[in-house]
Symmetry: C5
């Protein structure tokens, strides 16, 4: 697992609002897509230079600007200049180590969210990605570290012109984006649920030190997920209760709906955590059980053979006068005694339910 | 246990309010029952097509529509159309993975609850089922995934015309439904209480890896139950404090009563969880105790026979000059010494309370 | 321990307010005692039929009706009829599985409390009992499952006419009853404190599986007690803050006093719980310690005798040419070597502090 | 440790406000000291009979009456009579089993606090003592179970006439008393910190069952301390926020200061609790480690000598035809084989890092 | 680790506001630096005597006085005299055992914060240091125990005259100082993150008693850090919400930004704590696993060789009539039987997955 503490420290000593990208550079280039629509039409542009966005600033239509790739700080600076974003907002967009939050700057609302992806390799880890959304008047700007197809269905729905989306304002678009992000969590949880089930099976079949490490690894992923989803609840709640004129009252009920989904996600995470905890208990007690098994085998063997070996040792002594040695059936008698001892020992263990 | 995360992910990418049934299709067909009553009369109908409900919309009498089976989304769409239900309400009714909640849409109040059933097979698991209740003006619509006889006594009481039910409004009917659901929890808890008692006995008699798994299984069922009952408390509280004109003030005291029952259910669940935790402690320490027992047997046997075998070995040596071997009573003396050693060992173990 | 979930389920399907006694029938008959007093006089009656209480309804004096035994639902129905008790209050009085609570019905205040008794047998278990108190205007009705002498000192004080009691109203009488109940908890806690001390001693002297079960049993009793006392705090607090005209302002400071006592009871219960937890830790680590002891004995014996037995075995071999066997002092030399090995082993164990 | 539940039960059945001393009688006699001062002078009296205090009742100067020893209930009754203390206040002063609290009776403020002392014996236990403070207008009465020199520096400062004390009112004197009590906690914590350090050393050097008991003992003392300090925080907070005219606004900032100290005390207690918990973990795992050590020794000895003894046994057999026995170098060869086996075993254990 | 309870007790008995330095004297001398600036110019002074600060008291420019070294109480007394600091503020500055807090004295705001440094030695421990900040009108006074270069970049930025700093008031300067302190935490967390990773590796490679102690040591450092950062959150929050005219509204958004960073620090600390807890679990179960391994080796050896040694013992007996001994192939037969037993034992262990 990569260290979870990103190298923020190189920001130390810099003035606040200094634009430095904190995080792994996931995307090679910065790609800007602009989608402008109202009830009657929709129009998509691939933007080359940021200044092309300027004409869309004060239109009556809804403008959605989506930026993939955050490493080019100049693009952000220019965008901030055009749309009047605060230096701290730009700093937060670049610092991909944020926890979900919502900030009302009056002119616009700034929202940070986390989404998760699974790495393609066989370790199948979950990888966090930060998504920033700026809601202005008739304007939504979304920022993503790396291009994914998370928002593609929304773009398609806008182009197709079906549903409420084209008829509603920028706040409904922002809601749709957040909804897509929250819905994506359910997919991640299903994946983790499957991992847990596989682990449960291997726990019953063949518990090993590797099982333990897998449990602990999943626990940490849960912890990580939880760290992102708990503040999400608060964030959505504060958007819902915000008195900003940018959020219309009719959107409130949709935000309440996402809020409920978020709580469901949290519930599932907590359930998974509890399941992993009891798997740990089962693992630990299965180790103890196996120790018991091993010790029983040892004890049974020792308890049967020690008296027998002792007896054989006795009749291996070289005393001059040992009457039994002279008896013609002595040897067979001693075999008889030995077998009797062994059988009675086995009966004893049967009674104690060790065999 | 079936995976607890239902396949919500196929909803991803769809617009909010899209009607897709999330959950296992429990019922084969959708069955609609309509019961219309006022103080003087009651009338029951089996509805074939949803449009038959339309005439009952604005009557002064109380109309109770009960739907069994949720997989037919068309039925819901039509019902939503007739009674003016919001798209998100319909979505929530179909999504059977909700946590209990109450939402006031002004025109109507929407309530989601969970009930539990035991599977008939020998595993005797508890199976959750979602019940949605819509309270309108003079109208109650209840939705259930599968037909059970949970609400039968209420239907019978309405038909019989006894008690407050016929004299009261839709909110009292809704209260009666919720009361039936909460009362049903006590039955489930009794069943689980019996399971716990059986487990406690088997824990004393013969603790095994299976006991541990049964404890963990019950713990998980408790967790599951708790996840449903905790928000239930909040839900009933918010119905009680709701200022909706659909809930009359006189119903408040009855809701307070259910609220108390819910807290009792929660208390019992917490008690069961604590009992299961201490059963786990007892299980784990009984494993340690048994290891101690096993090791004591081994140690006693080894401690008695090792010195004896050594002695026998000594007099089995072939040295030319070993005076004891020549003694006429040597052999009997050595037996005497051996028996003395064995007896003193046994005394030593008695003193240490190992025997 | 009896199952803690009382058979409430037979109430399922009945309308709310249905009067069914939930609980074990502790008393054989229902006994009603009426005590009517004001500053100048007091008068006690044994009531045969409930209707005898009717004349005391609207008097200026304070009337205290005490009912022992709840199984006769007719008595309750009639009482409820005379004094205007709500159906849900009657249901709650009969349902002896309530948690402490206070409900203000306007006309009267209904309070449920729990008291505890020790069973007389050698198991010395604590047995819960529910006490309901109804405070009306100039009226206190108290309900108890079984006759005890808990309230006898109060009755005596009223008859003797000493103290504030005779000069004060019904609310002060109710306070005195609650005070008696809360004071009774201290006695129960002393008993449990003694049990814990006995257990601590036996834990040091001779820890066994029985000690563990006794610890767990006490933990469960604590849990049980706690479940009753936590809501009690809330209950007394809500009586104190209640704005009902039935509670005079001057009684407030007395209720605050009981509130403090309740917190003291809770503190003590929490301390006991912590003490029991650390006793569990000590028990578990004493098991591990004893395993260590057992294994040390085994290891010492094996480590001393295995090399010796091996040596004896060597000189028991039958090789034709074994020079040591021919040496005249061979046998004594080998004894010397063996004793040297044994002594050096013992030194080794001394150094490791095993002996 | 003495049982922490004081015999309160003998109060059961008595009316509230009954004056009975609950606690161990720590002092032999009751000693009353009166100190009367204003900005210009201070005067100290040893009071013989309580009525001597009466003239100081309504003076403009500040009067501080300090009572050592609580067993003489008559003294209290008379004091209560002179200064108008409520019966419940007197009861609380005598009941030395209180948790810290503050009660505003209008005419005066009643504060209960706990201080701690170390017993002089070698067990060095901490012993709680209750201090009650009554703040009236120009009056402070303090009650202590046993005479200590806790308040001596304050008395000296008043007599010396330095600092703010002489210039300020009764509330500042009360603050100074509370400050002395809270500062005293730091000394107790240092003592406990030293105990913990000693224990940590003995845990590393030589962990034993006694170490475990010492850890548990300290944990219980922490628990006990914590039980007193947590409500103290609340108490000081409520004095600070109290709107009583007896507390001047200028004293607020000093109370805030004590409040901060209390939080520091709580922080330290929590840190100590965490340290003791991890010491418990270290203790438990050191037991497991030692078991591992013991078992390794046993396994190494057994694994080396069992095959050797077997080999010696083989050549001790008495078969007629055993060719090796006849070989002239047979005996030396077998020694060679045995030594080779032993050495290869030791290499095996080295590789496994057991040696 | 040094004892965490600083010797506060020598303050006991002194009046409140007595100036005594509580803490280790970290700096040899007290060094005072004064920096006076406005938008157009900046001027730095090294102050020899405190009275040199007096002329800067009521200027319109921003004055930043920084004091390194707290042991000289006279310097503080004089400063307090010049700038009107309350005796309790001076006491708090000297008492370096404070938890972070903010106090509004009207004329000025007093803030206590904690920073951490790593000791240079190989133990690489974190060492706390207290920083006090006083914000007045156009004035910031900062107090540090020991000179570090924490604030050097800020001083350089002021001198260079870039950024907002020169244009803004004293509150923005104070914010910049707090920001530097909070940013410094990220460096400490990275260091600790690396320590945890190293520990994780050594846990997998070679867990030992030392690993356990290192885990516990890190846990305690986390605890320690957490104790400082939790109140920091509250502190920054209360500065932000403070209605003091000393904090301008425009600074609010910057304080919100630090608040978010503080929460990120807390999140990381909690994650580290969870990671250390699961490392403890892995450590403990790896001990159990190794015990299992050891016991398996012992059991395998014993189970194979005990029956063989028994057999060899049997044919070492000296009975007169033992037919097998006479058989010419007896010896080779017995070898065959022994090898067969050994092989079947090995197969048995293979089947049980012990080999």
């Amino acid at each position: 697992m990569p260290t979870r503490v990103k190298r923020r420290s190189r920001k130390a000593g810099l003035p606040p609002g200094a634009l430095i990208h904190v995080g792994d550079k996931l995307a090679e280039t910065t790609k800007i897509t602009l989608l402008d629509y109202d009830e009657s039409r929709s129009q998509e542009h691939d933007i080359r230079t940021v200044s092309e966005c300027r004409p869309y600033k004060d239109r009556l239509s809804v403008t959605w600007i989506h930026i993939d790739g955050l490493h080019d700080t100049h693009v952000l600076e220019e965008l901030g200049d055009i749309f009047g974003l605060h230096a701290l907002t730009l700093e937060d967009i670049l610092n991909t180590d944020q926890r979900p939050k919502m900030e009302d700057f009056g002119e616009y609302i700034y929202i940070v969210l986390k989404t998760f992806d699974h790495s393609g390799d066989q370790r199948n880890e979950i990888i966090p990605e930060q998504i920033s959304i700026v809601i202005g008047s008739g304007l939504v700007i979304s920022f993503q570290e790396k291009e994914t197809d998370l928002f593609k269905p929304i773009r398609d729905r806008i182009k197709a012109g079906k549903g409420r989306l084209r008829k509603s304002g920028a706040d409904y678009l922002a809601y749709t984006l957040i909804d897509a992000i929250v819905d994506h969590y359910f997919g991640i949880l299903e994946l983790l649920g499957e991992k847990i089930e596989l682990l449960e099976e291997s726990l019953v079949r063949n518990p090993s030190m590797g099982t333990l490490q897998a449990i602990q690894h999943l626990k940490r992923e849960m912890l990580f997920l939880r760290k992102s989803v708990w503040p999400l609840r608060e964030t959505i709640n504060s958007i819902e209760r915000s008195e900003s004129p940018l959020i219309h009252e009719t959107t409130g009920i949709y935000l309440k709906d996402i809020y409920d989904h978020t709580i469901q996600v949290i519930d599932t995470i907590e359930t998974f955590r509890d399941m992993l905890s009891s798997m740990l208990d089962i693992y630990l007690s299965s180790i103890s059980n196996r120790l018991n098994e091993v010790m029983k085998v040892l004890t049974i063997i020792a308890t049967i053979f020690m008296p027998l070996t002792f007896l054989a040792g006795v009749y291996g002594m070289n005393f001059k006068y040992m009457p039994e040695l002279e008896w013609p059936w002595g040897y067979f008698m001693i075999w008889g005694i030995m077998i009797a001892i062994a059988i009675s020992m086995i009966f004893f263990f049967r009674k104690r339910k060790w065999l």
